[in-house]
Amino acid sequence: MIVIKDLHKKFGKVTVLDGLNLTFEDKGIHTILGPNGSGKTTLIKSILGMVIPNQGSIEFNGKQILGEWEYRNQISYLPQIAYFPQNLKVKELFQMINDLRPGSKNEAKLISLFQLEPYLDKKLGNLSGGTAQKVNIVITFMFDSPLIILDEPTVGLDPVALIRLKQLIIEEKEKGKTILITTHIMSLVEEISDNIIFILEGKIYFEGKIDSLKEQTKQSNLEKAIANILEETYA
Amino acid sequence: MIHKKIFIPLILFISFTQIFGQIVVKKSDKNSSIQEAINSAAPGDTLFVEQGVYYEFDISITKPLTLIGLNYPVIDGEEKGNIIQVASDSVTISGFKLINVGASYTKEYSAIHTFNVSNFTIENNIFENPYYAIHIEKSKRGIIRKNIIHGNAKVESSSGNGIHLWHSARVEIIDNKIEQMRDGIYLEFVKHSTVKGNESRKNIRYGLHFMFSNNNTYDNNVFENNGAGVAVMFSKNIFMRNNTFKLNWGTASYGLLLKEIYDANIIDNIFEKNTIGISAEGSNRVTYEGNNFISNGWAIRFLGACYGNKLHQNNFLNNAFDISYSGRLNGNLFDKNYWSEYTGYDLNHDGIGDIPYRPIKLFSYIVNRTPESIILLRSLFIDIINFSEKVSPVFTPDNLKDFHPLMKPVK
C-alpha cells in the first residue's frame, strides 16, 4: 500500500528523518513507536503530504504522492491535537467536513457512541480538551477509508471513551483496513498491534511483531523492551 | 427732416431707404455695401441693417452714427482685415453678427476697432472667430455691453483678445460673454473704468488681463476655466468685488495673479477649485475681506515682497494648502478668518478659537522647495511631519498666525 524509500527531512539544522525506508503492505494495525522527537509525526505528515521531504519518495498504491491530493480520499487522519475554527458549532463542523469531503457513513452512530449529542450546538472554542478529541475521533472515523492514521489518539480521553476507541479501532481492523497508530501507551500497543515499527533518530530501528521485539531484546515486557533499546542506544 | 429715397445702382444690388434720419439697409444680393450707406448718411443718422450676409471689411465710420442690426445681420470680413473702423465720436454699433476677422502676426485686426474717439457704444453684438473682437485704442467714455464673443483660439501666438483696451479711460465693460479667446478682457493703461457682470471662460491665457491700469473697479464677473486665470499687474487702487474665479486648473494656473499691485481691495470674491486661488507678488496694502477660498490647491501664495496686506473675515474651505510663503517674511495681518482645517476649541463660546491658527504647513514649505514632492500630498508621513512642525515650528514663520480664528464660516 505504502512504499517509502530513503526519506530525508530536515527542519532547519535538525535532521528528523534520515534515510528512512518502510513498506506497508499488510492490512492490520501498525504501531509506530519511538522516543520524543524521533520523527513519528513527521513520518505520518510526510505520508499525508503535509510535510514535503527533502529527499526520497513515497508511493501510495503505486503512485508518487508529491503534489497529489486525490489519494487522501483513501486516508482518514486523526491529528495529534485538534483545534477547530472557534466560532463554529460542533454540528456545523460536521456539516462542513461532510461538505468538503463527501462520503461519510457512520457519523450519527459515532456521535452517539461518544455521547456528543449534548455538545452539538456548542461552539468548538468552548469544548474541553477531551470533548474536542472525541469530535476529532468522530471526524476521523466517519469516513470509510482503507488507510486510517491515528496520531496519539488517546490524548485527553476518559476511560469509557478510551475503551470505545479501542473497540472502534478493532472493528475497523476487522473490516480489513490498514491502521497506523502512534502512541506512548504500551498497554494499548500490546493489546491491539499486529506490527511494530520502531523509529530512532530518523531511521527504522525495528520492524516486526511484538514477540520478535521481545525476543530480540530478551525482555518479557514490551515497555522494558523499548526502554532497553533506548538505553542501549544512548549508552 | 429730409425725406429721401436712394436707389443703389444695379451693380451694387443693394437698396437703402432714408426716412427722417433713419436709413434702412436691405440686403438683396451678394455684393451689397454697408459702407455705401454710411457714406451717404448724414451725421447723427441711424442706419438699420436688415438680415443677411454682408461681405465687407474695413467699414469706416467717420461721422457720428448709430448702426443697428435687425435680427443679427452678418458681416463677413472674409479674413481680410478689420471689419468696422470707428474713427468718429458718438458711434453706436448694436445687433450685428461679425465673423471672420483676418488674422495677422503684425497687425491687431479686430471686428470693431476704435481709435481716438469718445462716447462710443458697442452692444448686443455677436462675434464669431474674431482675431480680436473689440479693440479700443486711445478712446474715452464708452460702453461695451452685452456682447457675445466666441473664438476658437488654440495657441497664444496666433490668437487675439476678446475685449482689448489700450490707453483708454472711463469705459464700462458690462455683461459681456467671452469664450475661447487668448485673453478674455485685456486692459493696458486704462483708467477709471468698470468691468462688471462679464463672463469670461475657456480663454487660453487669461480671463481678464490688465496692466498699468489704475483706479478701476471689477465686480460681479465670472472667470472660469481659463488657461491661467486672471492677471492684474502694475496697478494701483483696484477694487475687486463679488467676482467668481473658478476652475482655473493647470500647471501655472491661478484664479487671480497679483503682481505689483498697491492699495487694492479684494472683497467678497469666490475662488473655487483653482490650482492657486490668489498668487501675489510684490503686492502691498491689499485688503482681502469676505472672500471664499474653496477647494483650491493653494488658497493664497505669497511669492515675496508682499507687505502690509490685511486678511480678515475670509473663509478658507478645504484647500490643500491655505497659505504658502516663500521665505520667512511676514508683514501681513491675518485676523478673524475661518479656516476649515482649524482644530482648536472655543471654551468661552465667543465664536473665536482659543488657540491661534497657523495657516502655513511644513509641507507647503517643502513643496515650494521641491515641487515634485506634491505627489506626497495627504500621505500619512506628511501629516506626521506637519503635526510635528505645528507643535514646534522650525521652518515656517512662527509669527504667522491668525490669533482669532473663527469657529464658524463667515456668511
Partner: protein, 260 residues
Amino acid sequence: MLKILKYGFFDLMRSRWSYIYFLFYLSLGFILLFLNQDVGKAVITLLNIILILTPLIGTLFGVMYYYNSREFTELLLAQPIKRSNIFLGQYLGIALSLSLSLVLGLGIPFLAYGIFQSSEIFNFFILILIGAMLTFIFVALAFNIALIFEDKIKGFGFAILTWLFFAVIYDGIFLILLLVFDDYPLDKFALFTTVFNPIDLSRILILLKLDISALLGYTGAVFQNFFGTNFGMFSSITVLSFWIVLPVTFIIYKSKRKDF
C-alpha cells in the same frame, strides 16, 4: 476552494472583530456625514482614513487569521483537498469579509445621505473600490508574512513593520530622496517610485478623482499626463491588480513548499 472560502468567510463574519470593524466604518460614515453634511468633504476625510486603516486592518487580520486557523488548516491539509485551494480559499474568505465590512459599513451611511443624488458618487465608488483593493493587497502580504514566519510574535511584528513601511517609512525615504536630489528632474523618478507602493498609488488615484489633478500638474506635465488620463487611470488600476496577483501567486508558491 469555494467551499473553503465559504467557511472562512462565514467564520470571520461571525467573529466579533468583523462586527467591530463593520460598526467602526458604519459609525465613522454617519459621524462624518453628520458633522459636515457635505458629501464631498466627507469623501476627503474618508480618503485619509481608508488609506491608513484598510492596509493596517488587512495586515493584522490576515496575520491573525492565519495563525489562529493554523490547526484548522492542518485538518484541511489531511483531507483530499488541493493545497493551493485551501490557502486561496482562506485568503479570499478573509479579504472578502473585510471588504464587505468596508463596503457595507461605509455604503449604508452614504446611501442614507443620498450619495446617488450627489455628484460625488463616482469618487465614492472609486474610494470604496480602492479600499477593497488595498484590503486584498495587504491581506495577501499578511498571508505571505505568516507563511514565512512560524513564530506568531515575529509574524505580527513583521506585519506591523510592513504596514508602517508602506504607510509611513516609504514616503519618508522618498521625500528625503526628493529633497537631496532636487537639482535633477525628478518627476519620472517620482512617478516610478509611486508604483512600488500600493498605498501611494491608491492615494494619488483618489486625489486625481477628487479634482486636484492640476495640483499634481503643478510640478510639470509628467504627472498630469500620466495620472490625468484614462490611460494613467487604467494603468494604475492594473498595477494595483498586480499588487494583488503577485503576492497571491507567492502564497500559492510558498504554500506548496511549506511543511505543517
